[in-house]
């Protein structure tokens, strides 16, 4: 077997006329550029649909460059599902980029143990000092917020496509690649609730202290009375992340006799919560801000009563890049990608795009500072969200707030799968305010 420069193994095949011609053409170019491994280069140039979308590989695509990336994920504990899908997305992207004639991207994963700050900080320090990472993909709110000084000191370009929180905005080197968790979709969620359940005035809110706190404590109480024409928040319940028994929460919520429930809880907690509310015969609307298949497994058919608002990823989106992504994910992992996997997959392609731009300016593609500068100069990137059958979607970043704009919608769970009820108009997205 031969190895390409990015470490991927290529099985040997018999030499056909076509391959001889390809190899000769590739060899001529390689000789001119002092780079070898032209068989894989030639094959990538000819066969890879990602090159049609992102541009050619080779020198301008960063082939021959090795870049170290890090991930800071929940690989163990209650949130291990998130780490699993996120890492799968990123590793697939790295593999595809290498095959498309891009740089060799090596990703090392740190486990923050489902949101613990000390392993997050210690692990990322190690990634920076020992692995010399140029970029980081982080997740969750609190463990990412704790990294801000380290990332800025070491100029590591960092993306968070999971627990994007207001405290992470306007931070140098830290960029959100999803709408701000809970905060951005809250107006859309509550507006849908008020429009579709005008009788609902008394709202119960439920969440955790890990993320979504601002939505629960500041935004919802401010906008619900207006949207519901005089409604009020009758109870705000905070629970521990990872709770499996919601009986106490349910009892307290029941006693406040709400007409609807709005929750910013996430992950498996949502599955247990919705299931147990319905088993307690609480049939009022429950609206949240997230959907995961794992939560649906917990609640089963009872999850078909749940509505949520988010920048939801749709596997059936006919966007050409999305089709390639879904196909590759199914081939490699034997399952469809889901929301968080898509976000972290996109992030690695953003890095490739940024490296191209830096290389085009004869800059250092391994420099976090150069990569961020390229991002600020042109904050538009291709996306697996949006687009249509002819065009790849796009996402654009606010160069000051470091937030992203992606389409959001309100969805109902039907038959265990999300179904779009309505798009959330952009005027309902709350303005991004710089913290004092």
């Amino acid at each position: 077997m031969e190895k390409s420069r990015n470490g991927n193994q290529i099985t040997g095949t018999s030499l056909s006329r076509r391959r001889l011609l390809q190899a000769s053409a590739g060899g001529a170019m390689a000789a001119g550029t002092s780079r070898f491994s032209f068989p894989s280069y030639a094959r990538a140039q000819d066969a890879n649909p990602l090159n049609d979308i992102f541009g050619p590989g080779g020198v301008e695509g960063g082939e021959g460059v090795s870049i170290q990336g890090g991930m800071n994920l929940a690989m163990t504990g209650q949130g291990a599902f998130f780490g699993d899908v996120m890492s799968k997305g990123a590793l697939l992207a790295a593999e595809q980029i290498g095959a498309a004639g891009g740089p060799a991207i090596t990703i090392t994963i740190n486990d923050h143990q489902s949101g613990e700050t000390p392993p997050s900080v210690n692990g990322v320090r190690k990634l920076i000092s020992q692995n010399k990472i140029s970029f980081l993909q982080t997740s969750y709110g609190a463990p990412s917020e704790a990294l801000i000084p380290i990332l800025q000191q070491n100029k590591v370009l960092t993306f968070n496509g999971g627990g994007a929180s207001p405290k992470q905005l306007f931070q140098d080197y830290l960029w959100m690649t999803r709408m701000v968790f809970a905060y951005d979709p809250t107006p859309g969620a509550l507006n849908w609730l008020a429009e579709n359940h005008p009788e609902a005035k008394r709202l119960a809110t439920i969440g955790t202290l890990e993320n979504g706190v601002e939505a629960l404590e500041q935004l919802a109480p401010k906008i619900w009375p207006e949207y519901s024409d005089g409604g009020e928040i009758v109870i705000k319940e905070i629970h521990d992340v990872g709770l499996t028994d919601f009986s106490q929460v349910i009892a307290r919520v029941k006693s406040s006799t709400p007409d609807a429930i709005f929750t910013v809880s996430f992950g498996n907690d949502l599955g247990y919560m919705v299931k147990q509310f319905r088993e307690a015969a609480v049939d009022i609307p429950i609206v949240g801000i997230e959907f995961t298949q794992d939560a649906q497994t917990i609640a089963g058919e009872l999850y078909d009563t749940f509505v949520f608002a988010t920048d939801y990823y749709d596997t059936t989106n006919p966007n050409p890049w999305n089709l390639e992504f879904v196909k590759a994910h199914q081939e490699k992992y034997d399952k469809d990608p889901e929301y968080y996997g898509a976000n972290y997959y996109e992030q690695v392609f953003m890095i490739w795009d940024l490296m191209r731009r830096v290389l085009a300016e004869d800059g250092d593609p391994l420099s976090g500072e150069a990569l961020q500068q390229a991002m600020i100069q042109n904050p538009v990137f291709k996306s697996v969200y949006g687009g249509d059958a002819e065009t790849v979607g796009e996402m654009s970043f606010d160069p000051e707030a470091h937030t992203v704009s992606k389409p959001m919608g309100v969805f109902a769970v039907k038959g265990g799968k999300p179904e779009l009820l309505q798009q959330i108009p952009t005027e309902l997205v709350p303005p991004t305010e710089k913290p004092a």
Binding site: F81, E237, H239, L243, Q248, S255, N268, A280, I284, G300
Partner: protein, 319 residues
């Protein structure tokens, strides 16, 4: 099924006039809230009691902090899921296999880990560390084999019953009935059977028990099997209403451990009552405290008991 709070005229008349928790605290007791929390507390208390007894019988007899008990919990659940989901077996068989897997795993830990360590005069601390390490290894191996995703059993029916606005499900009732039946049978076993008396003898003084011909190793194996059976029951009761996941055993065993110390480490009844009291207190704290205070309540109670009554509620003071 719903009470229909969206229609104000359907609201039960005994609901307090107060409408918001931000108003004065607990001036008027919400009867519905207290009753629901009491019912939930009995369910949670029964759940904790079963786990506490499963941990307590092992600890009180062998003096081992058997944290790998969390692994037994997990293995019972996953064994049931494998049999039911992957082999298509009926629910009763899956549950039976789950219990068997728990017992076998417990026995294996005694034969393969604790007994050899005892023979080599390992300290209790060493056994605790080995047990801790094994519990982490088990959850990691389970995650590697099955992945971090949740796995559920075939849909287990779970009807909801009402008493006014207070609700309880059929699985909740099963937890109470199965849990206390198992505890009662264990207490009878310990008091009325030859093996039970042998366990009590070893618990009281293993050297004297050995001197009168009781096989201490055999008793240790027996209590490990019994404790594993009980924790397997607890795991399967949880699984029937929820899902299996790799770290599912850690939280219940931690609670069981706390409950044993709360009730007294010397006897099974103490462990049961400690677990029940802990569950009830945790639930009833919801009259005044929000849900995120639950762990504060649990450890707060433990702290208070350890400071003022270190032998536990039913334990005897050291002389």
């Amino acid at each position: 099924m719903a009470v229909g709070w969206t229609n104000p005229s359907n609201r039960p008349s005994f609901v307090s006039e107060r409408r918001s928790w931000d108003e004065s605290r607990a001036r008027v007791i919400d009867i519905q809230l207290v009753t629901q929390l009491l019912v939930s507390g009995i369910v949670i208390g029964s759940r904790y009691a079963l786990v506490a007894v499963s941990f307590g019988i092992i600890y009180s007899t062998t003096q081992i902090f058997h944290l790998a008990h969390a692994g037994t919990y997990t293995i019972a659940a996953y064994a049931a899921v494998v049999i039911a989901n992957m082999l298509g077996a009926p629910l009763w068989l899956a549950l039976l296999v789950g219990l068997l897997a728990a017992v076998l795993f417990g026995a294996l830990m005694e034969l393969g880990m604790y007994r050899p360590m005892r023979r080599r005069s390992a300290t209790k601390l060493a056994m605790f560390l080995a047990s801790l390490g094994l519990s982490i290894v088990i959850s990691s191996v389970v995650q590697i084999i099955f992945g971090p995703q949740n796995l559920s059993l075939q849909r287990v029916p779970n009807a909801t019953y009402f008493v006014g606005n207070v609700t309880i499900t059929s699985l909740n009732i099963a937890e109470i009935v199965v849990g206390w039946t198992a505890i009662a049978l264990l207490l009878l076993f310990l008091r009325k059977t030859q093996y039970g008396r042998a366990i009590n003898a070893v618990r009281t003084n293993p050297q004297v028990a050995m001197a009168v011909g009781i096989s201490v190793d055999g008793i240790y194996l027996l209590v490990m099997a019994i404790g594993s059976l009980l924790v397997g029951m607890s795991a399967l009761l949880f699984l029937m209403g929820n899902v299996a996941f790799p770290t599912m055993g850690l939280a219940p065993i931690l609670v069981g451990f706390i409950a044993v110390f709360l009730g007294g480490t010397e006897n099974v009844l103490g462990a049961a009552l400690g677990g029940f009291a802990l569950g009830l207190a945790t639930s009833l704290s919801g009259i005044w405290l929000a849900g995120d205070f639950a762990s504060v309540v649990v450890f707060g109670i433990l702290f208070i008991v350890l400071v003022f009554r270190p032998q536990g509620l039913l334990g005897r003071a050291a002389v």
